[in-house]
């Protein structure tokens, strides 16, 4: 279970650019929930993910993952709880290293790294099998540098890396937004498959309302750093874009969200 309690974050406090990015957000996410997050630009979606993953520390409030208070843990020490995928496909992998080396690094998420061999023979077969699931032919290219892969391939690999050692919480930060529509659909399909097969607790930020409605069992909407709306269960399943626009159109200035 993941709990956010009264998170507040103000940027550039005391200057004319002061911006309250997170204004007392509280949220509880049960194990196995797949939460989609919408909201216009500046609503605090990415800030929320950054607070959870430790890129920023909140000014107020606390963050619990499985009853562990992680509010003040540095980023690298939260790794054992979290898998995160960014919008930019280049951000999730090390380009100058091979596919199997990237997977081996992800394999050790949050654990001590010693002088043992990086890519173990015994794990290599496992990597090959897991890569087969992507259906991109990467299982035959274990020793190829990641820089040789396309954006979609890299993002799929990142997804695999983020879920390889089963994080307590998977954070997806508009992870299909930078891909062409066809590839985006493939990556999203793959996400759905991995998340549901492993019952991963997931938070997915998206700019695409259709995506937010179609996927996940909970949808929340952020507005000016606050929780504006949340819907789950049967109500979530029967939700339509029109309904959301009708209720919140005024707050959703972001046109991209509506398409």
């Amino acid at each position: 279970m993941v709990r956010l309690e009264g998170l507040r974050k103000v940027f550039k406090r005391g200057t004319i650019d002061e911006k309250t990015a997170m204004d007392g957000l509280s949220l509880q996410i049960a194990d196995g929930d797949f939460v989609t997050v919408i909201g216009s630009n500046g609503a605090g979606k990415t800030t929320m993910l950054n607070l959870i993953s430790g890129t920023y520390t909140p000014d107020e409030g606390e963050i619990f993952i499985d009853d562990d208070n992680v509010t003040h843990l540095p980023e690298h020490r939260r790794a054992k709880y979290l898998g995160r995928i960014f919008q930019d496909p280049l951000m999730g992998t090390a380009a100058s290293m091979s596919i199997e080396e990237n997977l081996a690094m992800a394999d050790l998420r949050g654990r001590r790294r010693g002088l043992g061999w990086g890519v173990k023979k015994t794990r290599r077969d496992y990597y090959r099998d897991t890569l087969k699931m992507l259906d991109l032919g990467l299982e035959d290219r274990l020793k190829d540098n990641v820089s040789l892969l396309s954006g979609g391939q890299r993002q799929s690999l990142t997804l695999l890396m983020a879920t390889l050692s089963m994080p307590k919480l998977l954070l997806l930060d508009e992870h299909t937004a930078a891909l062409d529509p066809k590839t985006a659909d493939l990556v999203m399909e793959l996400t759905e498959k991995i998340v549901s097969e492993n019952r991963l607790t997931t938070i997915m930020v998206t700019h695409n309302m259709n995506q937010a409605i179609k996927h996940g069992n909970v949808m929340i909407m952020l507005h000016e750093g606050k929780l504006k709306y949340d819907v789950q269960g049967e109500a979530k399943r029967s939700l339509t874009v029109e309904e959301v626009v009708k209720r919140f159109g005024a707050d959703l200035k972001d046109e991209a969200l509506l398409c």
Binding site: S53, P74, E75, H76, R77, A79, K80, L82, R84, F86, L90, M91, G92, T93, A94, A95, S96, M97, S98, E101, A104, M105, A106, L108, R109, G110, R111, R113, G114, L115, G116, W117, G118, V119, K143, D144, N145, S147, L148, M161
Partner: protein
């Protein structure tokens, strides 16, 4: 006649090139693996020489004096890393600060600006006393040392920790989200790199028979020139076995560089112009692709 003159430069270039190869290897770790442009090298090279020279004149065991020099280099590198990661001082400036500080440290260690080692027994003395041309055992020794450290580096960079270090230079955000403290990785990498450089300084001082406080000036540029030459000869752009190629490039480049310089000197290049020639060499290597407008080789020239 002319040809035999060139041939005579071969053993000298080999010996010197291999002795300096550890500097290039160290620079590979900072510039190429960590993408950290570390200038500590100009100070840690004479540091290794100074520590060894001082200890040898105090009749300390030669091997021990080398080990202490290596450790001193390791500490110097760690200091640069700490300036950068803990005090958030820019990477170039961190190196320059340490380099400057080390100048005074080296003078303190030696007590004067140079120490001659011709009259004391060094680690290399037994090799020099063998009943054969001096070059044979010396080159053999330096081949052994440089390749041993090359293979150790290759092995290390394929361990779990080594992968994390390479990822720190490649994609810091990514490896941090996988639970690696990238600050520690940077400090450790700089330490290892400067330990190599100090070892090179220590061995060079022993083979040339003196340590001088100014012997590190321009070392970073020489090392970079070596790497660039080596990379163009070995070809590091192909993806597979990239680490092995990088470290091999350091050794090959270092030898070829010394050979080019020896040939240059034979052809009338003034020794005083050496550093300028080296600098121009690096500028051309880095600048020409940019003038051509090519973007390829961006990763290949990481750290500069």
């Amino acid at each position: 006649m002319v040809l035999s003159g060139f041939l005579r430069t071969v053993p000298v270039s080999l010996e010197q090139g291999l002795a300096y190869a550890l500097v290039a290897l160290g620079i590979v770790i900072t510039f190429r693996v960590l993408a950290f442009p570390d200038l500590t090298v100009d100070g840690s090279f004479p540091l290794g020489a100074a520590v060894t020279a001082r200890l040898l004149t105090l009749d300390v065991d030669p091997l021990l004096s080398i080990l202490v020099a290596v450790f001193a280099g390791f500490l110097a590198g760690c200091c640069t890393g700490l300036l950068n990661t803990r005090l958030k001082i820019n990477s170039l400036l961190s190196g320059i600060l340490m380099m400057t500080i080390l100048y005074s440290v080296n003078l303190r260690i030696m007590g004067r600006s140079n120490i001659q080692l011709l009259t004391v027994d060094t680690f290399l003395t037994p090799l020099e006393n063998l009943d054969m041309n001096r070059f044979i055992p010396m080159i053999g020794f330096f081949v052994l040392v440089s390749f041993a450290f090359k293979f150790l580096t290759d092995l290390y960079l394929h361990t779990q920790m080594g992968l994390a270090m390479r990822a720190t230079g490649d994609n810091e955000q990514m490896i941090r989200t996988l639970g690696v403290n990238t600050d520690n990785m940077t400090v450790l990498g700089l330490g290892i790199s400067n330990a190599f450089v100090a070892l090179s300084g220590s061995l060079v001082a022993q083979s040339q028979g003196f340590a001088d406080v100014g012997m590190g000036i321009g070392m970073i540029v020489i090392g970079l020139a070596s790497i660039i030459i080596g990379e163009s000869m070995v070809g590091v752009r192909t993806g597979k076995k990239s680490v092995m190629r990088l470290t091999l490039a350091a050794l090959v480049g270092s030898v070829i560089y010394k050979f080019i310089i020896a040939v240059g000197l034979r052809m009338g290049l003034a020794p005083t112009d050496l550093k300028m020639a080296t600098g121009v060499m690096v500028i051309l290597a880095l600048g020409v692709p940019a003038l051509k407008g090519g973007k390829e080789g961006k990763l290949h020239l990481r750290g500069v």
